[in-house]
């Protein structure tokens, strides 16, 4: 191959690497490739009992909660350069609140509902919203670092959930309650995929059709400058936390519907790590500012693919976080300013060398 062609290829590769969506897609393809080599049956999709069945469907289905959380987390990271680490616990709290209101306080298992199902679900989502309001007030009004502010609910929300459920697991053995996390009879696609699509659609419309997306970016890049431009920075930050809380509420309901119960100790466990990892994998900067919702969502499914792969390899639920933690550290370290300047210097050096040779 002539050197010119080679240069064109390298240039093309460089442009691809610099593309916004490179990191999430690259990771997803990598994970899928590993799976393809290890187990050739990975991509087969059959229909069993009238529903779609297969590893890919499983990833899409199980990844719903992470994707929903990632949507809210992206906004929070973009606007405040800090993460909401309470999402997992808030999921558990909203699931507990929903099940508690459906079954009645202190009931551990029920076949009939105390109030209409839709009210219970809305109540659960609203509970997530209230947690978001709490976090948002602490961060935007009282100017507390986001992670410390959300640390309060990180421990307290799960404990409150336990109190609501009277320290036991509340089962809702009411058929329609299982639809949300499983299948609606007659529909082969898991319902949670529709829920995820709905959440993404609502937030995307909110970002594109109103100026909220632009505001979030400008507040994230420079809070003071945005303030001087006339944007109410603290209101935007507050709003992002509320959206994140609502997303956590929805995710909690889906997770609870999957197991048709509220297990305060286990719902949403380590999901905060998954959500943050999804955002980081999505090519978003942890320092706030510009964000990329689609990247985060692909990141979320990549995480689920990694989790599924790990489980297929016989790694237990408790052990999986080791791998994820290492990936988080690697990605965040690569984003570090030190590395960025190092890369920039290297490419500058390369250019100057080229110029020298041309000059000679």
């Amino acid at each position: 191959m002539s050197s010119q062609k080679w240069g064109a290829v390298v240039g093309f590769l460089k442009r691809v690497v610099k593309m916004k969506m490179f990191l999430p897609f690259f990771c997803l393809i990598l994970v899928l490739l590993i799976n393809l080599i290890k187990s050739p049956g990975f991509f087969s999709i059959d229909i069993k009992n009238g529903v779609l069945f297969g590893r890919l469907i499983d990833i899409l289905n199980r990844g719903s909660e992470i994707a929903i959380l990632a949507v809210g987390q992206t906004l929070v990271i973009a606007v405040s350069a800090g993460t909401d680490i309470s999402v997992g616990s808030v999921m558990s709290l909203s699931a507990c609140f929903c099940c508690m209101s459906l079954a009645g306080y202190g009931v551990s298992s029920t076949n009939t509902l105390a109030i209409p199902m839709i009210l219970g679900i809305l109540g659960g989502i609203l509970m997530g919203g209230i947690c978001g309001v709490f976090n948002g007030t602490l961060v935007s009004k009282l100017k507390i670092q986001p992670m410390v502010a959300t640390l309060i609910l990180f421990t307290a929300a799960r404990a409150i959930g336990l109190l609501l459920c009277n320290n036991q697991i509340t089962y809702i053995r009411y058929e329609p309650y299982k639809y949300l996390g499983n299948f609606i009879p007659g529909c082969p696609i898991p319902t949670s995929i529709f829920v995820t699509a709905g959440v993404i659609l609502v937030v995307a419309i909110l970002l594109k059709k109103t100026s909220l997306g632009l505001y979030i970016q400008s507040v994230g890049i420079n809070k003071r400058a945005a303030r001087l431009l006339g944007i109410n920075s603290s209101k935007i930050i507050f709003l992002c936390y509320v959206i994140c809380g609502l997303c956590a509420g929805v995710a909690g309901i889906v997770a609870s519907s999957r197991i048709y119960s509220a297990d305060a100790n286990n719902i949403g466990l380590t999901f905060e790590l998954d959500a943050i990892l999804a955002v980081a994998l999505g090519g978003n900067s942890m320092a706030g500012g510009k964000f990329n919702l689609a990247g985060s969502i692909i990141g979320a499914y990549t995480i689920q693919a990694i989790t599924t792969t790990l489980f297929a390899m016989g790694v237990s639920t408790d052990q999986a976080p080791v791998v994820k933690a290492i990936i988080v550290i690697l990605i965040v370290a690569l984003q570090a300013p030190v590395f960025k300047t190092w890369f920039a210097n290297r490419s500058l050096k390369g250019k100057s060398q080229v110029k020298e040779t041309v000059g000679a």
């Binding site: 009282l142 421990t155 307290a156 942890m286 080791v322 290492i326 988080v328 550290i329 570090a336």
Partner: protein
């Protein structure tokens, strides 16, 4: 004279903490008088159960002085306990090398975290959160079962855990059966209290201690002053993880077991203790004696919930979180007032 008489907002926070502790303990004594809450041993038990937390809180205070935070401590303690329980209980290794191994692990863990935070300028929260999940996961990798250390497994470790150091006899009291009880403490309390003293002197009188305050107060001016900000941060995280390992050993001596779900939420208790003790989240202000009182308040809440017997244990979590929330808001209100004044 004038400077001495003025109470600034930071000392005020510490005074509020001490007053709160005294009030809480007094209320406990009044309500649970029959259950023996007012005996000296109850107070000593708070120290015994929270010896590990005290060590961790000292390390946390050092990290928070630099303006950082370390939320990996709870998981690191679980990992330490699991290493000890697995090493002694299952493998039957001798105890001294294992203890040294645990301390070395603490140093290495802190070195990695400190390097990533100090030299790569990554947000401490994200790094230590990854560390938190890493350590918890590693605990499960070692063993997913609940293990305990029995006397047969390691007699030396067992004898340490059950060693009682009796206080002088005149402090004794008669229990409900009219038998003389002499209050005692465990060796872990001595370890924890000496950690507090050592860290107090380090913070007060050494170059490193003053550098911690300087870095947290204003990083840019610390740099201009010629301090090596990066290495100071690195050392702070190493110190935190090392103290956490000492805390882990104390914790293990107290519980004599290891499981994946151990010390869940301990990072929250440690942070709450530091914050309640007057350490500012923004860094630069704080002392270990404040943290000592923070730990005592934390322990008192737990003991109150336990003594009641009817309350669910999650109430202790909620109360700690609420207190943390209250003190954080207090701090930020003070900061806002100060800003408005100047």
């Amino acid at each position: 004279m004038k400077r001495k008489s003025r109470i600034n907002s930071n000392t005020l926070l510490l005074l509020i903490t001490i007053a709160l502790f005294i009030v809480m303990y007094a209320i406990g004594c009044v309500i649970y008088h029959e259950k023996g809450f007012d005996h000296l041993q109850t107070f000593l038990n708070i120290l015994i159960t929270n010896a590990g937390l005290l060590c961790v809180a000292c390390g946390m205070t050092c990290v928070m002085l630099t303006g950082g935070i370390d939320i990996s401590v709870g998981s690191l303690i679980a990992m330490d306990c699991m290493i000890l329980a697995y090493g002694m209980g299952v493998k039957g290794y001798p105890c001294i090398p294992l203890l040294i191994f645990v301390l070395v692990i603490g140093l290495v863990f802190g070195l990695v975290q400190g390097f990533l935070v100090g030299y790569l300028d990554i947000q401490p929260f994200i790094i230590t959160m990854a560390g938190m999940f890493f350590a918890r996961g590693m605990t499960a990798v070692i063993c997913t079962k609940q293990l305990s250390i029995t006397q047969d497994a390691n007699a030396l470790f067992y004898s340490w855990a059950n060693y009682k150091i009796f206080l002088p006899k005149f402090l004794g009291y008669l229990n409900s059966k009219g038998k003389l009880q002499i209050p005692f403490i465990r060796p872990t309390v001595l370890v924890a209290l000496s950690v507090v003293l050592i860290i107090f002197f380090v913070l007060k009188f050494t170059k490193f201690g003053r550098a911690l305050y300087a870095v947290g107060g204003n990083e840019a001016s610390a740099k201009l002053m010629g301090l090596n900000v990066r290495s100071t941060k690195l050392k702070a995280y190493i110190l935190s993880s090392f103290l956490c390992s000492i805390g882990g050993i104390c914790y293990s001596l107290n519980t004599m077991s290891g499981s994946v779900q151990q010390a869940v939420g301990l990072e929250m208790d440690a942070i709450a203790s530091s914050v309640i003790g007057g350490t500012l989240l923004t860094g630069g202000v704080g002392s270990v004696f404040g943290s000592l009182f923070g730990v005592l308040i934390n322990g008192t809440i737990g003991t109150l919930v336990n003594t009641n017997g009817k309350l669910l244990s999650s109430w202790a979590n909620i109360a700690t979180a609420a207190l943390l929330c209250f003190f954080i808001i207090l701090q930020s209100v003070f900061a806002l007032v100060k800003e408005r004044k100047s």
